[in-house]
Amino acid sequence: MTVALVRLGLVAAVLLAWEVAGRAANPLLAVPPSATLPALRELLLLRSYPDLGASLLVTLREIATAYALAVAVGLAVGGTLGMNRLLGRAYGPMLAALYAVPAVVWYPSLMLFFGLDAASKIAFGFLLGFFPVTLAVLAGIRQVNPHLVTVAKSYGAGPLTVFGRVVLPATLFTLVGGLRTGLALSVIGVIVGEILGSKRGMGALINHAYGLLRTADYVALVLVTLALIVGTDVVAGLVERKARAWSE
């Protein structure tokens, strides 16, 4: 209760500051919340941007594809590096180093390579989501009780069975954290990709409004995108809690 009040207090303070600053500034460059609300209404009633629904769908589909790829490839790569000591020692540190590179530097080449359509956004979302998933798998495998692996081997488990029956369930606790971070980053990747250059999706709408100095529409679009991102994270958080309770 108190937490909620403190939280709302900050939101109210930010809105107030925004209102005051927004009214003082050039209306072309900044809008106060009071001017944003009508724009948001127009947007949600599909008046200012009738293709809002289609754009949301495009973005969601890109996110889903990018994330699915990041999880699949991340599990495979992390699993291989974790299960094979030589490969893990050779490539693990390289992956960690690459993760530290600001991923945006790769985006121009991704656009050149995959074009302006969905493929480059998916590639970028994949690239961002791939690292935390892979590194979480690697870290998880390193803390698996080796005795459980010995037991499974004594029952005839080969490397794939050991991975599926022992390592994955044993790492689930560590893994869900990485999966959630990976989702957040895949979402960021897709949206940043769209904003940096695209013809469809939420990023394209944001770019359009921003480019035409329709600042109120621009802010409304950002708010919708924000809701989308917060929504996915809330869902991911619920799934994470469930998985943690189960694997504890």
């Binding site: 009780n145 005795h147 459980l148 010995t150 037991v151 499974a152 081997k153 004594s154 029952y155 005839g156 488990a157 069975t161 029956r165 022992v166 369930p169 044993a170 689930l172 189960w246 694997s247």
Partner: protein, 262 residues
């Protein structure tokens, strides 16, 4: 020697481990054969290579010299159709219930779900775990966990069960009861058991044969045949005499182990 043909033959086996302070000779020229239905116990000072030998029988460790045969065929890796292993640490999967842990080996062998559930459920009764099928390992006592691990090994119904100090982590009373319980299971299932222990009493009460191993490098020092039936009261003159003989051999090796290796 036992009258039945050897189910397990260990022939001139040696093993050396590389450590940071130089190579360690764990086993040297160990030979042993075990017949079907025997309860053969390996006993000896710490670090004498008992567990290494057991690991070779289970296919988890390869010998450097010599060979290990099960049913006449050399062991090249774990063979869950013929050999099951119980470890000192039960090694239960914490995300599986007691029943699901018992089913593990059958699951890997592709036994259909209904069938393996039936087998595992039937095992829980004699394991004294009938009411605990749905419990997770963290909800069970140490003795119960080890019984689940033994159930997991019995479920795949192999001729041979290897047990590496299965009761080593339990308190004395639980340990005695578990010994009685194991004896009953063994007599009913007629399995061949190779059992590693530090406890003279456990060895004397359970075994048909006891192999005493030397201090490192491990060799077989002496083999004790125990012809008498079960149960065996500890105070019977026969057992008291055997205990003195066994202690004589083990004491010698334990002293060497304490004096010789730091």
């Amino acid at each position: 020697m036992s009258a039945s043909p050897p189910l397990i033959a260990v022939e001139g086996v040696g093993k050396r481990y590389a450590t940071s302070s130089g190579p360690i000779e764990a086993l040297q020229d160990v030979s042993l054969s075990v017949g079907e239905g025997e309860f053969c116990t390996l006993i000896g000072p710490s670090g004498c290579g008992k567990s290494t030998l057991l690991g070779m029988l289970g296919g988890l460790t390869a010998p450097d010299r010599g060979r290990v045969l099960v049913e006449g065929r050399p062991v090249t890796g774990p063979d869950p159709r013929r050999v099951a292993t119980v470890f000192q640490d039960p090694g239960l999967f914490p995300w599986r219930t007691a029943l699901e842990n018992v089913e593990f080996g059958l699951e890997l062998q592709g036994v259909p779900a209904a069938r393996r559930r039936a087998v595992a459920t039937d095992l829980l009764g004699p394991l004294g775990l009938a009411g605990f099928a749905g419990k997770y390992p963290r909800e069970l006592s140490g003795g119960m966990r080890q019984r689940v691990a033994i159930g997991r090994a019995l479920a795949i119904d192999t001729k041979i069960v290897l047990m590496d100090e299965p009761f080593g982590a339990l308190d004395e009373q639980t340990r005695l009861l578990m010994g009685e319980w194991l004896l009953e299971i063994w007599r009913r299932t007629k399995k061949t058991v190779i059992f590693v222990t530090h406890s003279l009493q456990e060895a004397l009460v359970l075994s048909t044969r006891i192999a005493v191993m030397t201090a490192r490098p491990g060799r077989i020092k002496s083999v004790l045949e125990l012809g008498m039936g079960y149960p065996r009261p500890m105070e019977s003159p026969e057992l008291v005499a055997l205990r003195a003989k066994l202690w004589h051999d083990i004491r010698e090796e334990s002293l060497r182990a304490m004096g010789g290796d730091q």
